[in-house]
Symmetry: C2
Subunit: 312 residues, 2 copies
């Protein structure tokens, strides 16, 4: 039996796991992310943690297929990062450093892409080869898998579906500096923005309160039949439908897997997305399934382990 490590580096904690080749997890744990001094300790801390776990489980280097790592930044195919928002890293050769620190084969990917790989291997997209995963959280992340392989791109910035333009009349700026990005409508903050706009021009009775409304409030109200909330859900669905239609013309997936905090709304959310997608999709792309992500916070370590497996 051989094993691989999956590592998911976040701004606060690093999640780690040991997996068998078929995906069964042997161990899962976390260590803090030390972002001091441009994050100089992050990789050595991970390497030490891996070595300690190998000893604990009586594993030698020969038992380990490799280490997969997800990083919250664009990562080139060679495992190079050119700056991160949350880790303090500037230019960093992550694959090279981790291989030197661990003496094990290492492969590194963007965290949203790696999570998509995890959902394809063990989660909502199990059994598929052509998949797009959309993560609706504070922002909108995405990962594109084509014929079983991630779209990484020349600068490691492939699969940024949150920044396709879905409204050319938008006057507000996205965090990225552009206007009209999908992220401005389909993220948790985007839904709050749509809700506030809808409430401002609406006189209908509603349980939603413009001062305190959250994405969860909106979906709870949709489930209760609140008319104003349903208007917001329709808007959300139309923007996300536009975005997914565009993504499908490029990558022609078999399935969209929707994850992230917002997706906890469940099947009701899928229904708004699917209907709006089908109304807008290119004819050759309409035969697409929709599913909810099922791995939650473990998608990152599971996908990272799969990255290591595929790298053999």
């Amino acid at each position: 039996m051989k094993y691989c490590f999956g590592v998911d580096i976040g701004g606060t904690t690093v999640k780690l796991g040991i997996f068998e080749e078929e995906g069964k997890d042997i161990d899962k744990w976390e260590i803090p992310t030390d972002t001091e001094n441009e994050g100089v300790r992050i990789l050595p801390d991970i390497a030490e943690s891996i070595k300690a776990k190998m000893e604990e489980h009586n594993m030698t280097k020969e038992d380990i297929i490799g280490v997969g790592v997800g990083v919250p930044a664009p990562v080139t195919a060679e495992g190079v990062v050119n700056g991160t928002a949350n880790l303090g890293w500037k230019y960093k050769e992550v694959t090279k450093e981790m291989e030197e620190l661990t003496g094990l084969p290492v492969v590194v990917g963007n965290d949203a892409n790696v999570a998509a790989l995890g959902e394809m291997w063990q989660g909502g997209g199990k059994g598929q080869k052509n998949m797009v995963m959309i993560t609706l959280g504070t922002g909108v992340g995405s990962g594109f898998i084509v014929n079983g392989k991630l779209i990484v791109g020349e600068h490691g910035a492939g699969g940024e579906g949150g920044h396709v333009t879905v409204d050319y009349d938008e006057t507000d700026c996205c965090g990225c500096g552009k206007k009209g990005c999908l992220e401005q409508y389909a993220s948790a903050t985007g839904i709050v923005r749509l809700a506030k706009k809808t409430l401002a021009k609406n006189n209908k009775a509603t349980v939603l309160n413009a001062d305190t409304v959250t994405a969860k409030d909106v979906w709870d109200a949709v489930k209760a039949g609140d008319e104003v909330a349903i208007e917001v859900a329709e808007l959300f669905g139309s923007y996300l439908g536009k975005g997914l239609a565009i993504m499908a013309t490029i990558s022609d997936p078999a399935i969209f897997v929707i994850g992230g905090g917002v997706s906890k709304a469940g099947d009701v959310l899928l229904s708004y997305v699917e209907k709006n997608f089908k109304e807008r999709a290119f004819f050759a792309n309409k035969n697409v399934e929709f599913a909810l992500a099922s791995l939650g916070n473990d998608a990152g370590i599971i996908g990272a382990a799969k990255l290591a497996l595929d790298n053999q």
Copy 2:
């Protein structure tokens, strides 16, 4: 020395070529496309032509790496076509049939995708691994290459960049049935449409005539400094810039290669596209080169040969 065949099936003629492994062409020829009776003779005619050429050049099956074929329709990874606009085919297992007819290894792809592969191997994108080719002809075709491999997609309909939406206020329909597709603005017919609209609301002196204007007229007038033509070129550039910015968020290319009849306008066209792309692109995708396609009508057979080579 081993060889491969490149075949590019069009609605009127089938182009064929024999290539060495490094890309040198040994022979190039054409046969008519017989679309009678649901195109039943197309593949047998190609197979007979290949066999005759092998005899002519004293080649045995052992000398041939394989046959690559480009088809003007979506083609699945398994080489299956589900209907074509120009060949008469309905459901057809192209790879399987061609392998039975020739006794050689066969691989089949969509013609626009295959042409992109040709331009990456021997043309405007030589030496690159991450490329998007846009073909501006009667319509707008595209081919996406990620890490050296084509994006084929689940239904063989990946890389349909001509149908990303770049105007949500459009009232006219695209040939595909959607509204606001890139093809409605950046194709030869799209440029004529933009020119007519610009002429209708313009009183400036111009050499352009609304009744007879062609895409070539527009670009010739741009080169001559015609103010109205320059307005049209700016409009064209803004739409194509929007479309390429969206494509880059998904596939993060190193280079865009622009081909097709419209691209004969040359560097002046590239300047309008590049400027508009850079104004609209996601920050991580801005470092992209632009080049003109250089293989002309041979891109299809060259790319098909490369498809066969990569399939070994």
